[in-house]
């Protein structure tokens, strides 16, 4: 899939500009995404490098119109390959949530805006990994339900259910912290 066709014409400078812009724009979001999946910034960097290497080998028409989604899909596959090779791949389970949750924001106190953001982030980190991934893809990376479905291989309704469940839980927990 990633072998460039021998007949493909040499990239025009326009093409290089497009790729450079795309890489510039998506490098940090991809690093963020990969680091969340791998819990390891160094490996995440390798995965993002691999992703861009594949991008450079991919015929432009194959990615036109959905390049960002394509990058996240490839990045996700690559990250899961790494996890699989290292036997670190565990099924997503609610059990991880408690471990990932950070310290409780102080309940019963008026939360300043900064504290509110910190509290929401802590709650998001307490979500089960599968909910957390789609929440981040939606609210941090700006992907639509349809795009998230294609990136993760889940059905659109499954994505909708996960996000609905996560948002409902976050609202509930957030409200419980309010005075």
């Amino acid at each position: 899939m990633f072998c460039p066709s021998p007949n493909r014409r040499e990239p025009a400078s326009q093409d290089a500009t497009f790729l450079e812009g795309l890489i510039a724009q998506q490098q940090l979001p991809l690093l963020r995404y990969a680091t969340r999946l791998l819990h390891d910034p160094e490996r995440a960097r390798d995965v993002v490098q691999d992703t861009f290497a594949k991008l450079l080998a991919e015929p432009r028409p194959a990615i036109d119109g959905h390049a960002v989604e394509w990058l996240f899909t490839v990045c996700r596959h690559r990250a899961f390959d790494v996890l699989r090779k290292e036997n670190r791949l565990k099924p997503f389970a609610d059990g991880d949530a408690a471990r990932l949750a950070s310290s409780d924001p102080r309940p019963g106190q008026a939360l300043e805006q900064e504290e509110a953001q910190t509290a929401i982030l802590a709650l998001i980190q307490g979500l089960p990994p599968n909910q957390q991934e789609v929440v981040r893809l939606r609210f941090q990376h700006g992907f639509s339900y349809n795009e998230i479905a294609r990136i993760t291989g889940l059905s659109v309704s499954n994505v909708g259910f996960l996000i609905h469940t996560a948002v409902a839980r976050l609202r509930r927990e957030y409200a419980a912290q309010q005075p």
Partner: protein, 440 residues
């Protein structure tokens, strides 16, 4: 969908609130909403909470971005009224930015390069300004957004010693939020629109090195008219981390990414100083409650800010110039040596290897806007700021005409540049157009 089929616990309600519902299901759900006030309230609450989530996630520190070493905190500036900004260390969209900035760099034609070099030379007087003994260099009053918009009162605030930290990858977050809301034919919640993020979402040209052994950070300063207030001016401060690699072939992109991820300066701090003989008041555009919530006394910032090759950062200050009559009157015995100087920007940084401390100074002579046409970058940054300011208060009178004017300026900037490698300028123009149609 029958009314009884939609409850607050229906995933379709969340999908609708987020603009994600299958269009085929929308009429039925909207019919249910018309009949049920509780459902309508639920939709509003989901949207409001989603905006909070977006804002929180946009401000989340990058998991891989923690700087390794925390250098010794810098001495507090002795001039109490000066304002220190911490370089937004998390905004290293970076690495890659080197590549993209490069694309624009190559496209700039030679005449422009020369003109730019001349301008830069004019903007950098060789003698450093001597301000140190002046007791009242700047007024801290904010021109607008009083008083709840002021930074929170903390230990650092009394000395004006606050860090200014942009959200990680502000462009991505700001654009993603705008895209979602406008695609759903609604305005984003005002508090979610941050001018500083929007300004930095757009890419600007980077200044050229002035000498072969140029310092790792270049600054570009410019003053022009504030488009939203004729009596005020805007000062644009553009900072760019330099990289030496100028080969623009596809084969070296990956090398450049590697190269670009290396920091070129650590512990970067920016001091902005206004000449009181020229500036009566100033404010950092976007320094309102939301941004204030992200500021912290600079010595308490979690990580030492670093700057990366190709990284860029733009800040806009709105200033109220001193009235001409006062300008000519003798002000005090401690007038700055260079009375025509408007603003001085000092950068402190540590070299990545060895940590030797360095200081760079840039200053800008006061020129009245009439004498000088603003650059395209200036107009674009000002348009982004104005757009964000309008969206923050869409109910204010004059919003419609303001947006029309913004649209015209953005369209002109996009057309005249012809450079838009990441498509953001064009998308920005589309945002303005959509917002305008929603407001009118």
């Amino acid at each position: 969908m029958h009314r009884a089929q939609c409850s607050a616990d229906d995933p379709r309600l969340t999908a609708y609130a987020l603009g994600e519902l299958d269009p085929a299901d929308v009429p039925a759900l909207e019919a249910a909403l018309r009949e049920d006030a509780a459902l309508r309230l639920e939709v509003e609450r989901i949207r409001s909470f989603a905006a909070k989530m977006e804002a929180a996630l946009a401000a989340e520190p990058h998991p891989a971005a923690a700087s390794p070493v925390r250098s010794a905190p810098p001495r507090r500036p002795e001039r109490p009224r000066s304002r220190w900004l911490a370089f937004p260390q998390l905004y290293y969209v970076c690495g890659g930015l080197a590549a993209a900035a490069l694309a624009m760099f190559v496209a700039v034609n030679r005449e422009e390069l020369l003109a730019r070099q001349r301008r830069q030379a004019e903007q950098r007087p060789s003698a450093p300004a001597v301000h140190a003994s002046s007791p009242s260099l700047i007024a801290i009053d904010l021109v607008t957004d009083p008083p709840d918009g002021s930074p929170p009162t903390t230990a650092g605030a009394s000395s004006g010693n606050h860090g200014y930290v942009l959200a990680p990858n502000p462009g991505e977050a700001a654009f993603a939020a705008l895209r979602q809301h406008l695609a759903a034919r609604r305005l984003p919640p005002g508090e979610a629109v941050l001018p500083g993020e929007l300004i930095n979402a757009l890419r600007y040209r980077r200044p050229l090195p002035s000498a072969p052994a140029a310092p790792p950070i270049a600054a570009e300063l410019e003053v022009g008219a504030a488009p939203w207030a004729p009596e005020r001016q805007l000062v644009r401060i553009g900072l760019h981390g330099r990289d030496a690699d100028l080969a623009a072939t596809r084969q070296t992109i990956l090398d450049r990414i590697e190269h670009a991820q290396a920091s070129i300066a650590r512990n970067v701090r920016i001091q902005v100083e206004f000449n009181p003989a020229r500036v009566s008041t100033y404010r950092l555009v976007g320094a309102n409650r939301e941004v204030a919530a992200q500021t912290a006394p600079i010595d308490e910032l979690a990580a030492a800010p670093a700057m990366f090759a190709g990284q860029a950062f733009t800040a806009l200050y709105e200033i109220l110039p001193v009235a001409p009559a006062r300008e000519t009157a003798p002000r005090s015995a401690v007038l700055p040596v260079s009375p025509t100087e408007l603003i001085t920007v000092r950068l402190q940084y540590a070299e990545p290897a060895g940590g030797t401390a360095r200081t760079l100074e840039f200053s800008l002579a006061d020129r009245r806007p009439a004498a000088m046409a603003e650059s395209e970058d200036f107009r674009l940054a000002a348009a982004a700021a104005e757009f964000a300011l309008v969206l923050r208060q869409p109910q204010s009178p004059g919003t419609g005409p303001a947006l029309r004017a913004v649209l015209e300026r953005v369209a002109a900037a996009v057309v005249s540049s012809g450079e838009d490698p990441d498509g953001r300028r064009a998308e920005f123009r589309e945002f303005v157009r959509q917002a305008q149609s929603l407001l009118e």
